[in-house]
Symmetry: C2
Subunit: 154 residues, 2 copies
DNA sequence: TATAGGATTGACGTAAACGTAAAAGGTGCG
DNA sequence: CGCACCTTTTACGTTTACGTCAATCCTATA
């Protein structure tokens, strides 16, 4: 199965055959399209999150892989670990209702939401403490610069 | 220089002499007092953040060390790295005005504040996306359970 | 054919802040 | 004496998501 056969006048070196609308892309294009590095794509594959086809040793990504990658990136955005993402993805069954998958996703999401809210609280707390400290430091600095030789009231 | 000499009737095995109000404590007590592990205290020392006295090989912490530890813990709470904390602490000069230290602290604090606010924004964003996803998932689940055998409209 | 781009696998490195043995020394108590 | 308890140093392990070579291969183009 040869990948490149009848090249159109595309600027790209490797033309992808429009055979059956398969839309294969190689790793470089895939990476650019989704703003990730090659290393990342290989890493995700190594972790079992992606499973691109192969032409010899060359990875070929289909729109199925793209959909999966989108899910991965969404998962990461909301703070799931790759392990979590994998767990949820592994439950996907194209022939069923995926009730289990959805339940797991919901369960994990609730927990993650709680974590995020806790984190938010911690950050707010940190912002408060930091602001306080800064106020104090500014105070100390102004005391030192305002009265270089004449001791201020105290 | 012996540490334990005239033990009072304290429950603790090792009594600390009240000589000159020095208030030495050993690592175990120090750890308990500040809610950290022994490993942590040794780690901080290894990183140059603490410098307790020694009685032979036994670490003895004074109130100076306590003050430093408090600062470390505050720093950590607001999200500074230990490296940052060390940088700031290293500038401390008991004989001067510490203007440089204060300026560095203020500078780092401003940057850290910005980071925290950015993080907060990211978390808010994540919370939003996650909530959306959850809504969708709940929707899908309810569709699956509401109409098990009779296909819903569509 | 030489060269420039991609692509491959393999494998060590990184960051932060400790955790967790392991092996050993000192001390007071019963 | 022996045990329990505290302490010491040394040093590898953990976590997560990749970064960064390194060595090699394939292919298209000039």
């Amino acid at each position: 199965m040869k990948l490149v056969s009848a090249g159109e006048a595309a600027a790209n070196t490797n033309d992808i055959p429009a055979e059956a609308g398969e839309e294969f892309v190689r790793i470089g294009e895939m990476a650019k399209k989704y703003g990730v590095t090659l290393r990342t794509l290989r890493f995700y594959e190594d972790k079992g999150l992606l499973n691109p086809h192969r032409d010899g040793s060359t990875r070929l990504y289909t729109r199925r892989d793209k959909a999966r990658l989108k899910l991965i990136l969404l998962g990461r955005k909301v703070g799931f670990s790759l392990r979590d993402v994998k767990q949820m993805m592994d439950l996907y069954d194209p022939t069923g209702t995926n009730t289990k998958q959805l339940r797991l996703a919901l369960d994990k999401s609730e927990k993650q939401l709680a974590r995020l809210q806790k984190q938010r609280a911690l950050i707010d707390d940190a912002i408060g403490e930091l602001s306080n400290s800064m106020k104090t430091v500014r105070q100390m600095l102004s005391e030192r610069t305002a009265a270089p030789q004449a001791s201020a009231a105290g």
